[in-house]
Symmetry: C3
């Protein structure tokens, strides 16, 4: 198991748990930071999704520079890696969906796990807890839940801070 990386923070929570807002507040409060990169992994496949993305962007603090990265997450993080930079990835489960859809998940995941330990930027990773309900029938749902769970475990081992957000409030897991 890799040694914990100073600063990186895994922020987990259910749908509408307030996990993104929590992570944004934490990111803006990082002492000594001078640049904030918001990596949005969502893709607008329909009007409802486009509205959600626009809603989120409109409510974001002006210090954020938003970068869209549905795939190739590790490369985008590396491109913005620098001292004084805070990188927020929102969210890992959308990125997982994107990668499963084009069958590049294993490469995407391995690249993320490889790039994080060397980052001098502080990286906050927001992800959806999806494994605490009944898993719907169908192999895709099971693969998605399995891969999300395995990823969360791997990242939780890497990150020195892990939080679970419930109703906007953080439970510290690590």
């Amino acid at each position: 198991m890799t040694e914990a990386i100073p600063g990186h923070h895994l922020v987990l929570g259910g749908a509408r748990s307030g996990k993104s807002a929590y992570a944004e507040r934490e990111a803006l409060a990082v002492p000594g930071a001078s640049r904030w990169i918001y990596i949005a992994t969502g893709q607008a496949h329909d009007a409802e999704m486009a509205e959600r993305i626009a809603h989120h962007r409109a409510h974001r603090d002006a210090r954020w520079r938003t970068v869209e990265a549905p795939l190739g997450l590790a490369d985008v993080i590396a491109a913005y890696d620098a001292a004084g930079t805070v990188v927020l990835v929102d969210c890992l489960t959308l990125w997982l969906s994107n990668a499963l859809a084009v069958d590049t998940w294993a490469a995407e995941r391995d690249a993320l796990l490889a790039v994080l330990p060397g980052c001098t930027a502080r990286v906050l990773l927001v992800s959806n807890e999806v494994g605490s309900g009944i898993v719907p029938l169908g192999e895709l749902s099971r693969v998605f839940v399995d891969e999300a769970g395995r990823l969360h475990q791997a990242l939780a081992a890497l990150c020195p801070r892990v939080s679970l957000i419930v109703a906007g409030l953080p439970l510290s897991l690590k």
Copy 2:
């Protein structure tokens, strides 16, 4: 953000987590209380639901006065608001379902958020955590999960106590 209200308590938990039993015990243990109002939001649409409601009512302590309020929740709380009174609402997600079905959710929600800060009664609000699994396809499920999550965040900001119940045991979130 409104200031926290002394006493109000948001009790979250999954299905069959023991959240109602926990909230009932907490309510009956409030020091100085002399009246206990149980606001039941469930409606018996079929035999299974009727049986659940009857089961809950039969197992409730005799000090409770049960009031049925599928809609108009804020008005019912206000009608019973008095010093020495403990009001338990069980549960918010059924009330949300009821309001979504008749398209009065925004008004119901705003009225609840408006009435709580002025209540002298202590209000315990039981609600279902529904956002930690895969959200089923269909716009209604997504709206339900979104609105439940937003409501929990708004109430968690208002209430001085927030608990998450797992297997009958409370995790204190606030």
Copy 3:
């Protein structure tokens, strides 16, 4: 409510939360233990499930003796009950599914709740949190979620230790 049993430990978590790996580590670290019994409740109904079971078994420490017990759980626990023995049951929700399918759930559950208090072996019980998402339509899903939740509450009252695993990390509930 029965008195707490020294040593027994209920380990809850969502799908791929790392609950089994956590329970295995805890079990192998029990001081003074000399025998480790792994009670696997899963049945391989299809190739995917067979692969999962084989994957789990291949990754298990050599000290484990694996016993398959899709049903009759209480009797199997009793058969291996002895001082110095650690019994890990993985997992209760698969066993619940098996028993619901053949309509013997009430007897299975009552037998487990009856056998645990007298066990001198230390028993670790791994189970899936399934109640924190939308419950899919259909009576079987509702019965499954209800019975899992009720079982967790009953066991949490019996066991001196209860943990919720999220991303491989334990939250202590008791």
